[in-house]
Amino acid sequence: MRKELKEYPFDWMLWRAFAAAARLKAGSEKEYRQAVNQIPYFRGALDAIYGIGEPGRLLLEMVAEYFEKIIHAEKRGQKTAITTFCFSPAVFYALDIVPITLEMMTVAMGATYKRGTADFLDYCNEVGFTETSCSSQRGSLGAYLAGNGVTIDMVVCDSPGVCDTNVNAFAFASAYLDKPFFQLNMPPDLIAARSTEYHRADYRALIDFLEEQTGRKLDTAKLRRILEEVVRQDLLMAELEELQILVPNPLPVTFNLLIYAGRFLYAGMPQCTKLLESMLAIGRENAGRNQSGLSSGREKLRGFFCYIDHYGQDFRLWQLLDRMDISYHGNILSKMWSQDAHYVKAFDRQKEGYKIDTTDLDTLIDSISDLNSRMPMIKSIRGPYDAPHMWLQDTLALAKLHKADFIVYNGTPGCRNTWGMVKPFARDTEKNGFPTLILYSDAFDMRVESWETTASRIEEFLKVRRLCS
C-alpha cells in the first residue's frame, strides 16, 4: 500500500470527506461549484447525489454520521463489529454496538478516491487473501487488515450457506486479526419449519455471543422500539415500491441506492425513516404530475438488475441510465421481504416475508431472526436458482411487476455463487421474455473492466437487442 494512504486512518478520512460534503450546499451555488472543483474525484458523485435534492443531502448526512459513530466508538465505550450488507444491523443498535459494514465502506471509498479502493484491494492480496475473492469486502477490509482504521472488536456475518466468498472474507479477518467470530448459517431452504427453527436457534446463539462480547444484556424495550421503527420503514418502502411500478416511474434512478443504503446502515433507526420520508415526498409529487423521475422526464425503457449495481467512480451507472432515459428498477439487493412489502402482497407470498411481532422478547427475537433470514441475497440466493422462493422466481416476479424491458446481471468475478449458475439463469430469464445481459465487469474494481468498456457493452446490448435505437 502506498505510504501516503497510511498517513491518516481511512475511516477517519471518509468521515471528514462526507461530513464536509454534507455541508457543501449550505452556501450559495457558486460556493458549491468552487468547493467541488477542489475535489474532482468526488465531484461526479456529489453532483449526482445533490441532484436528487433533499434525500441526497440526508444521505450524505446519514453516511457522515455513520462514520462519525465508527470513529468515536472506542471513546464512547462502544464495541465495533465488522459485518456485511446482508446482515440487518438492527440487533447491533439494540445492543449499542457500532456496525462497520465493509461493502458500504468499499462503495464510499470507491466514490471518493481517485484510485478507488485499488490499494486496499491489493493489500488484502499482499497479506495472503486470494485475489479471486470478492472485491466488495476486500475494498475496505484491506484498510483494517493494515491497521489503517479503528480497532475491530468482533466479526459477525450471516453468509455461510449463501455466499462462501463473502463469509470467507470475514473468516479471514477474524483469523488474521485474531478477533472473535460469529456466523449465522443459512440452510438451503427458506420456509421449511426446520429452517425457521434453525434460523431462530442460530439467532439466539448470536445474541448470546453479542451479550458476551459487550457484557450487556439485550434491552427488550430498545429492541421493540427499533423493530417498531423497522415496521414504519417497511410501510414507507412498500409505498415507494408502489410508486416505482407506475408508468412512468416517478422515482429518480438513484432511489434504489438510497433505499438500501438507508436499510443497510440504519435499519430501525430514525435516520433511515427520515430519508425514506423525504424520498416519498418527491415520489408522490412526481406521481401526482404523472411525471417520470428521470432528469429528461422522458421514460424510454425500464431496466432491472438481477444482482448488484455498478459502483464505478462518480456513480456512472446511474448517470448512464439517466442519460439514456432508462428508468431504474433496482436490483435484488434493494428488496427487503417484509409481509407489508408491496411485491410480497402482490405475489401472495406472505410465507416468504417476515412479520414483526412485538409481544414479548421471544416474539421480538423470532421476528428479527425471520427478518435477517430474509435479507437481500440471504433470502433469494441460498438454494438452487430455480428452486421455489429463490433467485429466478424472485427476479421474474419483480421484473414482471415492474414491467422491466430488460435484465442485467452485474457482479464481481469473486462471486462463485452466482457465476456458478448465471448462464442457465439467464437462459431461463430469456425464455421468459426478458432480454438479459451478463456483464463481466466488477462492481467495485474498475481494473477488472474499465467503466468505458462496461458502458459500451450496455449500450451495445440495448442497441443490438433493438430495445433502443
Binding site: 451478463i438 463481466y440 443490438v464
Partner: protein, 260 residues
C-alpha cells in the same frame, strides 16, 4: 443505388461496396493502431477497385471496434448486428453465427431477417479469439495462414487445459520441448478454441443452421474442429471475413430505403 460497409477490427480493416444484391468491390487490410487511418485506407482501396469515388456512395455504415473513429461513415452498427445481417444474407437458412474475431469470439442467434435474438461473448480467462491463434502461431514460429494446412497432418491432437492464452503459450512451448509434433499441437489448439466457441453456443442453446464468420473461419482446421465440437455441419459462407462489412452495407441499404 450504391452502399458501403466498413468494418474496422483490431487486427484487420475491411470494406465492401454493394449495389442492391451485388458486391461491386471489397478489400481487407491489416489494421494499424489508428482506426481512422485504417478505415480511410481500406475504403480508398475498395473505391479504386470499384472505380468509384466516395461521392457515389449513397450511404456508408461503419462497424467493428473502430466504428466510432471512421471519418466517412453516415451511421454505425455494432459488429454483432452486422454479422447477423451479413450471414443471413449470404446463407438465408442460417440462425446461429459463431464469429471469432481478433479481439473476441461471439455466438449470435438470429431470426430469418438476420435480427439478433441473443448473443454471448467469450468468457474472461478463456480466450477463444483470433489473437489467441496469432500468439500461438507466433510461439510456434508458423505463419497464421499455414495453421489450417498443418493441422491436417495431426494424428494425436494434444490437450490444452490452460484456459489462459498467455499461460497456454507456456504449455505449448513445453509440449514442443517434449517433442510433440507441431501438427498435433496445432490441432489441439484448434480444438481448444473450438470447444470454447461451442460452449458459448451451448449457453444460448442455439440450433438450426450454424455459420462461422470472421477471419478465423478461413482456417480449415478451425472450421472442422468447430464442426466436431458442435456435432453439426457448419454452413460455409463465401466471405466469412467480410461478413461484418457486408452486414454493414446491408444496413446502409436499409438506412437509405428508410429515407426515401
Amino acid at each position: 443505388m450504391i452502399f458501403a460497409g466498413c468494418d474496422v477490427g483490431s487486427l484487420t480493416a475491411k470494406a465492401v461496396i454493394m449495389e442492391e444484391e451485388k458486391i461491386l468491390a471489397s478489400e481487407i487490410i491489416l489494421a494499424g493502431t489508428k482506426p481512422a487511418l485504417s478505415a480511410q485506407e481500406v475504403m480508398d482501396k475498395t473505391l479504386q477497385k470499384a472505380g468509384l469515388s466516395m461521392g457515389k456512395i449513397a450511404w456508408c455504415v461503419g462497424t467493428g471496434y473502430g466504428r466510432k473513429q471512421i471519418p466517412f461513415s453516415n451511421s454505425e452498427e455494432s459488429e454483432i448486428a452486422c454479422h447477423g445481417r451479413g450471414a443471413v444474407w449470404s446463407a438465408p437458412a442460417v440462425r446461429t453465427i459463431v464469429d471469432i474475431g481478433g479481439q473476441d469470439a461471439k455466438a449470435i442467434k438470429v431470426d430469418e431477417q438476420g435480427n439478433v435474438i441473443r448473443y454471448l461473448y467469450n468468457d474472461k480467462c478463456a480466450s477463444g479469439t483470433g489473437r489467441f491463434l496469432e500468439i500461438m502461431a507466433d510461439a510456434l514460429g508458423i505463419a497464421l495462414d499455414d495453421l489450417g494446412k498443418l493441422a491436417r497432418n495431426a494424428t494425436d491432437p494434444v490437450t490444452l487445459s490452460n484456459q489462459c492464452v498467455v499461460f497456454a503459450e507456456t504449455e505449448i512451448i513445453s509440449l514442443v520441448n517434449e517433442g510433440r509434433n507441431v501438427a498435433d499441437i496445432i490441432a489441439g489448439l484448434h480444438r481448444a478454441l473450438a470447444n470454447r466457441a461451442a460452449s458459448m453456443v451451448g449457453s444460448i442453446v442455439a440450433d438450426a443452421e450454424v455459420a462461422m464468420t470472421g477471419g478465423v473461419a478461413k482456417n480449415s482446421g478451425m472450421f472442422h474442429a468447430l464442426e466436431t465440437a458442435l456435432g453439426v455441419p457448419i454452413r460455409k459462407i463465401d466471405h466469412p471475413q467480410l461478413n461484418g462489412a457486408i452486414g454493414a452495407a446491408l444496413f446502409a441499404r436499409e438506412a437509405t430505403a428508410a429515407r426515401s
